[in-house]
């Protein structure tokens, strides 16, 4: 039975997994990616290694990209975005904006894998001086340096002696409006801390946190590993503000387990920025008329037992387009979504052949 292809929007980890899954099940996939390359945020944001197993991000993503690249059932479109959609699954007519102009396609089902965007620590508040001080960077900036193989003090290129992470930047914050925990930043901070300690063994690394959220195996595989094996220092209490004194940035906060104020100079401060809904996710929700949940991510309606079904029949969402998600979540959700999309198409075909 011939079906319209399953439209997969976004070629990050979730989208690549969904497209590959569709093809593995014998369904055609139309994989649409806004950027000129496949791989999504791990590639576009220059991640050094993936969390938690610390595999080189390029190697890991290349494996996923290779799995879709030459599959005859997968139609890969780079530099392409969906600009309009009409009709209902399994007969949705989408308009694609491609480098060669607009194109109309009929798709049977949709899986939105448009991911997240990193919180911009300068957007809502300037309290950490991200745009003022060169030596205040984000997890993403740090990834870039780690990937380049040289972790330095950005202001002068010197080797840092003391570095700290500040957790929960842009997350768990009523004032900013981001009420959620971004789930991955604790683990990523631990991962980057380990990488810094490996790259610059004389550099002391501190992590200022409210509570370390290391669920499941992340607890011992990265958190304990960072502390026990790599001597990363975890200090409870989030830094309130950063000032610049001479060529150092000085963090000011409270060491809550000591009940003492902290005022300590650092060479580099890394802001552990969280996840926000991506622009692409918001747009796709609008185009496919999928409601957003209260935090602004795409709403799934199945609760704990169905994490990918949206209120729009035949339309599914996976990964961080639905809320903060780590790679493990994203890949698992992509598998679930493609299974449900294939199921949706098959049931429609069965119903159609019965009525015929």
């Amino acid at each position: 039975m011939e079906h319209n292809p399953i439209l997969v929007i976004g070629a990050g980890p979730a989208g690549l997994e969904a497209a590959r899954g569709a093809a593995d099940l014998g369904y055609r996939a139309l994989l649409v990616e806004k950027a000129p390359v496949l791989g999504g945020t791990p590639i576009l944001a220059d991640y050094a290694a993936i969390t938690p197993n610390m595999e080189n991000a390029e190697v890991a993503m290349k494996r996923m990209v290779d799995a879709v690249a030459d599959d005859p059932l997968i139609d890969v479109r780079l530099e392409t975005v969906v600009t309009a959609a009409e009709g209902d699954a399994p007969e949705i007519n989408v308009t694609l904006s491609t480098p060669a102009g607009n194109e109309q396609m009929a798709v049977g089902s949709v899986i939105v894998c448009t991911g997240f965007q990193h919180f911009d620590p300068g957007r809502e508040t300037q309290m950490y001086g991200y745009y003022e001080y060169d030596d205040v960077i984000t997890l993403v900036d740090c990834e870039r340096m780690l990937k380049a193989g040289s972790f330095v003090k950005p202001s002068n290129g010197e080797t840092p002696k003391r570095v700290c992470f500040i957790q929960c930047v842009g997350s768990r914050d009523r004032q900013i409006g981001n009420f959620w925990c971004s789930k991955v930043c604790c683990g990523i901070a631990c991962k980057e801390a380990i990488e810094i300690r490996q790259m610059v063994p004389d550099c002391q690394v501190f992590v200022f946190y409210i509570d370390m959220r290391m669920y499941g195996f992340w607890e011992d595989e990265i958190y304990w590993k960072a502390q026990d094996d790599h001597k990363v220092n975890f200090i409870r209490g989030i830094v309130t503000e950063i000032t610049k004194r001479g060529d150092q940035v000085v963090i000011k906060g409270e060491d809550t387990t000591m009940g003492r104020p902290v005022e300590v100079p650092m060479d580099v401060v890394i802001l552990s920025v969280g996840m926000e809904p991506s622009e692409g996710s918001t747009k796709m929700a609008e185009i496919f008329r999928m409601p957003l949940e209260s935090h602004g991510f795409i709403e799934t309606i199945g609760g704990a037992l169905n994490t990918v079904t949206t209120s729009r029949p035949g339309c599914f969402a996976a990964g961080a387009s639905t809320g903060p998600a780590d790679l493990e979540d994203s890949i698992s959700m992509a598998g679930a979504a493609v299974m449900k999309a294939a199921g949706f198409l098959r049931k429609h075909s069965l119903a159609a052949s019965k009525s015929a």
Partner: protein
Amino acid sequence: MTETKSSFAPLTAYSPRKKAQSFVQKDSVVIEGVDISGQWNKMFDAREITSYDLTHMDKLTAIPGAESMGWCYQCAQCIPACPVDNAGGDYGPRKIFRRLQTGVDIFNHSDMWLCTSCQNCVRVCPKEVDMVQIMPAARAAAVLEGNVPDELVEMFQNVSEYGNPMGQSARKRVKWTRGAGVDIRILPKDAQPVDVLWFVGDYYAYHDRGNDAAQAMARVFSRLEIDFGILGADERCDGDSQRIAGEPGLFEELARHNIEQFEKYEFAKIVASGPHAYNAIKNEYPKFNGGSGFPIEHYTQFLSQHLDRLTPLLTRPFAKKVTFHDPCYLGRHNGEYDAPRKLLQAVPGIEFGEMFRCKQQGYCCGGGGGGMWLDGFAAEHQTERLSENRVKEAIQVGAEVLAVCCPYEVSRFEDAVKSTDNDGKLEVLDIIEILDQCME
């Protein structure tokens, strides 16, 4: 917000604020006629943490055995379990870790010496921060640097010179036997094979109240017709507390000496009066005799195997309310909670009741890990002695007798009964003394 140069914030290299640092802790301070000497004038220290100086943390965790000090994730389960913190010592692994992380030099700090190695924190620690491994390793380094409280130095010297912490001569080790009223075979004088080699221990041999227990033990053994002998003047301190207090070399010397004595005689098993000797001979001595060790039992374990013959001999009622203090090195360190209780339950007329903190959760008397010789030092850093804390609990549960089975404890608890103004309200007796009293 942009950074502007202002007269209030000159752009100079950062230096920590010195605001409160002109005040330092004084050994003796009198302000407006009030003497505030001691721990609490530390309130004059700077409150701000201006540097997480990890020098001492790194130094400590680099010592083999002390690595796990760096593993603490601040869950704080150890603090309620720490007997020193319970006694007002502001102590426990979580706090030591934080102080180290904030730059405190533990090698020159009371934190190094207050741990009694009771193992209660290790029992509850989810990260397996193991103070029982950390402390001996760290203290050995401190001892090499010469940073040791005077009281400990004196004890180390006594043990090194005389073979016992009291600094008594070896000859006097058998003096107590004269008052026992029964024959006691001294193996160096009569080397015939023997069933039980009784390792008497320093406190039974030299301390007045220990002598009472030693004599009681000899009488009970005799009534049970146990074939036993002692090393007499050839016995030396078991060394376990010296090991934990930071003298592994001295420990090895003592262990090798005692092993040499054991090897001279034919015996079926060693019975130790004390849990510390029991622990040393069971768990540490094998390292010095090719791993084979010696069959060893604590006296409560040994006697509880002879209850069929012991019980009929206990004819005189002991109609008192009795509670029992688990020795750390019998209970938590070696898992024995039943043997002493079995003996007490065999006592006719006894009304036995547990304290709130018993068995695995048992509270420490304060004598372990060198604490036996650090009462003066501990007093400067705690609001009460651990033994005082324990005695109050015994009284709270309505006990008339606090039964013990560690030679350190009788004198510690008797002192604590007096210092807590409970004279006459609580009797402290070794279990062996109770058994002896019950025999006609």
